[in-house]
Amino acid sequence: MKTLVYAEHDNASLKDATLAVVTAASQIGEVHVLVAGSGCGAVAAQAAKIAGVATVHVADDAAYAQQLAENVAPLVASLMASHDAFLAPATSNGKNIAPRVAALLDVMQISDILSVESADTFTRPIYAGNAIATVQSSDAKKVITVRGTAFAKAEETGGSATIEVVSGSGDSGTSTFLSAEIAKQERPELTSAKIIVSGGRALKDAETFAATILPLADKLGAGVGASRAAVDAGFVPNDYQVGQTGKIVAPEVYVAVGISGAIQHLAGMKDSKVIIAINKDEDAPIFQVADIGLVGDLFTVVPELVAKL
């Protein structure tokens, strides 16, 4: 079995999300990695060093600079003639591209897998993680997205894969990248942060959110997340959202401040090692999953905590 892993990168460096996918792929068969981008030679070199990777395919073309699904999917589909399984991280990029590949191959995708039971059988969450399904695929080729928090990261060094240049059909001419507003984060990225401090609707507004949550995050060296309610209310941008349809995180420590704990939010963070909840409502559902709970008004508790840490 030969697998093809889709590398998550920004043309300059390889993203951590790729490493968990390599681990998942290694449980299915030989691991090949595809780096599709523009001026992405450094990424390919980085991918070749990952332990357990046999071959890195590099498609370096201006058409792949933004990894638009319309351009990348046909490239992946053509490479799948010589691979048995395609695995992408369940990132916004992976989720955009993989189903387009699956349909081109006439394959039913298996989304967001949590484990590899065998080469054709996987577990995946359904109903916002309220149930875990074991599914077996009858397709000859597999197309899979991988939940990053469910697999250990492959070692970044130790490998010495061969690098092969590949090319695809280039620009489809149907989709054009216009712009990106990518928030400059000084803080750890949510999906790889060891500690996350998240705020909810109780933070009132954007200023209060920043004034309350950020000092605590600074003290702990933590990434900052939010509930859907806080994002919808405009306290923080959309990429802060933790939950069923936002980011799935599993840090060492997750501090939920003023978050009641709707099932959609829990779906995104309940695999955290330690959950700490601060909420004034002692019946809030968040306390049912929290390892350490503190009932109190966050506007007095959080500043006090910052002062005493």
Partner: protein
């Protein structure tokens, strides 16, 4: 220009799903069912484009059981012009996308707007698959949609923030949460919806084989997290954090 909006009947957003004791699936008997929330957003966006004069007709489509008629009536009550129900149970996203591709071929819509994922199987696939099968560009996880001439600009919610792409129409769009706030159907509109056209079809009418490719071997509850301890005050919390090595 026509807009097609596929909608799915799913467990209501507020209901906590329960796994059947025999591990065969999730118990949906006597559970409140509603339109998938992302699909409501898709309907709303299509209606707004019609109200702006960009679109002339909004067609709601569902692939599902007989009861998905209720979901389509909700779409009609919100303001969709007509509906197509393709009666079939438990069709996978690939099968749904194939049926939709046939409907797209027949109706030639300028846009198909879908929810980005259904909250039951959480697949997040149908829109992208439909885009592949029809050879159309895709604007997934849309935060903002602007049609200008023969192209549509879509601001997409991506991991780092927002990415804006320009797609040549016809195109496929999938909705994210913040695209809009869906309207409620008014009582007069609910009454009116009862007489709007709703066509009934089967996958065979479109010549699509919907045999599942995935077999669900079992469905179990996730490992349960038990509640931990409550601490009395900040000092106790700080002590715990120090114990865990989180704070110095």
């Amino acid at each position: 220009m026509k807009i097609i909006v596929p909608v799915k009947r799913v467990i209501d957003y507020n209901v906590k799903p329960r796994v059947k004791p025999d591990g065969s699936g999730v118990d949906l008997a006597n559970v409140k069912m509603s339109m998938n929330p992302f699909d409501e957003i898709a309907i709303e966006e299509a209606l707004r484009l019609r109200e702006k004069g960009v679109a002339t007709e909004v067609i709601a489509v569902s692939v599902g059981p007989d009861k998905a008629q209720e979901t389509l009536r909700t779409a009609l009550a919100m303001g969709a012009d007509r509906a197509i129900l393709v009666v079939a149970e438990d069709v996978e996203p690939l099968g749904v996308a194939k049926i939709l591709a046939k409907i797209v071929e027949e109706e030639q819509p300028g846009l198909v707007i879908l929810g980005k994922q259904a909250i039951d199987d959480d697949s997040n696939q149908t829109g992208q698959m439909l885009a592949a099968l029809t050879g159309r560009p895709q604007g997934t996880f849309a935060n903002t949609v602007n049609v200008s001439g023969d192209s549509v600009h879509v601001a997409r919610e991506v991991d780092g923030g927002l990415q804006t792409v320009s797609l040549k129409m016809p195109a496929i769009i999938t909705t994210d949460l913040r695209l809009n706030e869906p309207r409620y159907a008014s009582l007069p509109n609910i009454m009116k919806a009862k007489s709007k056209p709703l066509a009934q079809k089967t996958p065979a009418d479109y010549g699509v084989d919907v045999t599942p490719r995935l077999k669900t071997l079992k469905v179990v509850e996730p490992p349960v997290r038990s509640a931990g301890i409550k601490v009395a005050d900040v000092d106790a919390l700080v002590a715990k954090l120090k114990e865990m090595g989180v704070a110095a």
